[in-house]
């Protein structure tokens, strides 16, 4: 099987969808001549030209509004916001317009818009260029929220997003763009709302979001050697959320750890944990635990950055602690 990077997989998904449907267009900063800030639109400008791959000024609020208008009038735009930190620059367009128009028009209009943006720490890009704000958009009804965990997932989920008639916020992880993965040739479409059990296990359910899936897998390789068999679930989409897969898994293991790079407070882990308590309380054998980013602005210092974010090592130690129960309570 061929190996391509996450960035190439994204570019491939856009390419295939643009070839398939001439209504697909793309807006964003540096996506044209530069080929994307992270190389995720390499070659598309040369192939489709400036009418379908459109570089924009630094004006998120305007070009998201522009893309929304295009969507309402029948196109299928992909719009790119370089860092999820900048989502809030286009806050009104995203939260009040994009998320609401289909509902407020009584379903008369479709909004087939995909908004791509990036999350993730690890590059020392400090407090304004490092946040993972997927919980923020998940809070607002009317938006689908997608969190691919590797190149194959990114390709399959992005193609589904582009074909969706509702606004989708698609979160790419900055540390993944150069990661290679075996991506199958040909059409991949991964449905929304269906979590993926990437590794079956019996001891603890670990729900990973985006990059934390591969961190969990790495931690698992160490844990297996110590006889600890974790089950890893790739959540894939926050909205819609596949609660059932998590519920069934926790029924089996009785223990749940959620790993998410978003800030801990009011985060997606809290949402999952609450849901599990409500549905599976009597099957729980331990308090639910989570590893998220600490509730502080993200520091520039690489050492401090490492300290506050979820890592493979933290997952490894937390799982071990959960298995050695006398530690808790």
């Amino acid at each position: 099987m061929r190996e391509i990077t996450y960035a190439q997989a994204i570019s491939e998904a856009i390419d295939e969808e643009m070839r398939r449907d001439e209504k697909v267009i793309m807006f964003g900063e540096d996506i044209g001549i530069k080929g994307g800030n992270f190389g995720q639109t390499q070659g598309l400008y040369e192939k489709y030209g400036e009418w379908r791959i459109k570089d924009t000024p630094i004006s998120e609020n305007s070009f998201v509004g522009l893309a929304l208008g295009a969507a309402l009038t029948g196109l299928r735009p992909i719009v790119e916001i370089m860092y999820s930190d900048f989502l809030v620059v286009a806050g009104d367009q995203i939260f009040n317009q994009l998320a609401k128009i289909r509902y407020m028009s009584g379903g008369q209009t479709k909004v087939p818009l995909t908004l791509c943006t990036t999350i993730g720490m690890g590059r020392s890009t400090a407090a304004q260029h490092s946040q993972s704000l997927h919980a923020l958009v998940s809070h607002v009804p009317g938006l689908k929220v997608v969190m691919p965990s590797n190149a194959t997932e990114a390709k399959g989920l992005l193609k589904t997003a582009i074909r969706d008639d509702n606004p989708v916020i698609f979160f790419e992880h900055r540390m993944e763009f150069n990661q290679k993965h075996n991506v199958p040739e040909g059409e991949i479409l991964i449905p929304f709302g269906k979590a993926n059990i990437v590794k079956e296990g019996k001891d603890i359910t670990v729900v990973g979001i985006a990059r934390e899936v591969s961190n969990s897998l790495k931690a698992s390789e160490r844990l297996v050697k110590e006889g600890i068999d974790i089950e890893i679930i790739d959540l894939r989409t926050i909205v819609p959320m596949d609660r059932k897969t998590i519920i069934n898994s926790v029924k089996k293991t009785g223990k749940l750890l959620i790993v998410d790079e978003g800030h801990e407070r009011c985060g997606v882990a809290a949402e999952i944990g609450m849901d599990i308590i409500k549905n599976v309380f009597f099957d729980l054998d331990l308090p639910i635990e989570r590893i998220c980013t600490k509730n502080v602005p993200i520091p520039f210092s690489p050492i401090l950055e490492e300290e506050i974010m979820p890592t493979e090592d933290k997952i490894y130690h937390r799982v071990k602690r959960m298995m050695r129960r006398d530690n808790i309570g």
Binding site: G254, F281, F282, D283, L284, D285, L286, R324, R325, D326, N327, I328, G329
Partner: protein
Amino acid sequence: MAKYIIMPKLSFNMREGKIIKWLKQEGEQVQEQETILQIETDKSVIDFESQISGILRKIFIKEGETVPVTLPIGIIANKEEDISIMIKEALEILDGISKGEEIQEEIGQEIELKREFLKKEVQSSPEICESVKISPRARKKAKELGIDISLIKNKFSKKIIQEEDIIEFFNKEKNVVIGGIPTVKVIAKEVPYSGMRQIIGNRLSESKLTAPHIYFSTSVDMSNVLGIIESLKKEQEINITINDFLVFVLAKVLTEQPKMNSSLVDNKIVYYSSINIGIAVGLEEGLVVPVIKEAEKKNLNEIAKESKRLITLAHEKRLMPEDYQSGTFTISNLGMFGIEEFTAIINPPESGILAIGSIQRKPVVNSYDQIVIRPILKMTLSVDHRIIDGIVATQFLNSVKKYLFNPGMLLL
């Protein structure tokens, strides 16, 4: 990362703790979760576990010394780590305490802040909990397996009981097998231990636990008694039971040997002049003992009538308190149910009880060395050894035997 070991606040009221023993010395490696010292609180001695792994670099408080809670007692750090600032800081705090200075005033805010900081560290560490916690999953499993979780709580040394503990317990219990077949106790129903059952239980426990019982058994040939009962029935149409006859004999013997007609009450041995003989009657709800009062003044016919009246009332549950109070001796007869012999628990505060078995036809050797078939009754006397010695009991039982073997003696 260097960390203080803090004197933990193990209970709400704990103000200070005493170091009983350091299980690790300075320079030794400690593991997370490893017990490193023992601390005495106002209540008990508690093993203190390290929250981190590292080297026990510094001990501030020696064995036998006492220190207020939340103050540093040692430092765990990596081998090479510089802990000089931490040592200085800790000594300053501890110095303030040992000099008896008012921390708030003299040393000022700085140390207060440090104490706050230290307190926080303690709070974030796992608390030592006094009660055992049971996970919802473990409860569910216990219910599924029919295990009463409250009964097994004490069997676990763990702070949290999880599903696997329940399964382990279940597997252990079911291996207590009869004939190799795993058995599980399945509860059919539960009935409160109260009311009549509880009164009976409490009285019998009191008797057995306070009065040291000794037992004396003997057999007696009942041919003559049965002959008399038979002839009375035939000639006079008077129904006398064996039990009535026994009560009559007991009244006679107790009159002759009043030592058996006594009680130990409030450090006094009380001897009774009236002979009130209780008859144990088994009902479905439990045991009742109606009393034939002043049996020594009654003839056999009167005893039979009174006995019949009381037993009828007992079965109809119409006994009044005066019907079952003030007994001085009791007879318990299971002969009619085919029991050969048994021992009975004394009905407190009485000093003796006679347990009667069934009459069995048995070969015996008579005074002419011939083997003959005789109706044999076995009886066992229980006495309270605090006030009745073996010799008294023996004389008593022999007299009973004498009158039963030769009822003509009753006429003398």
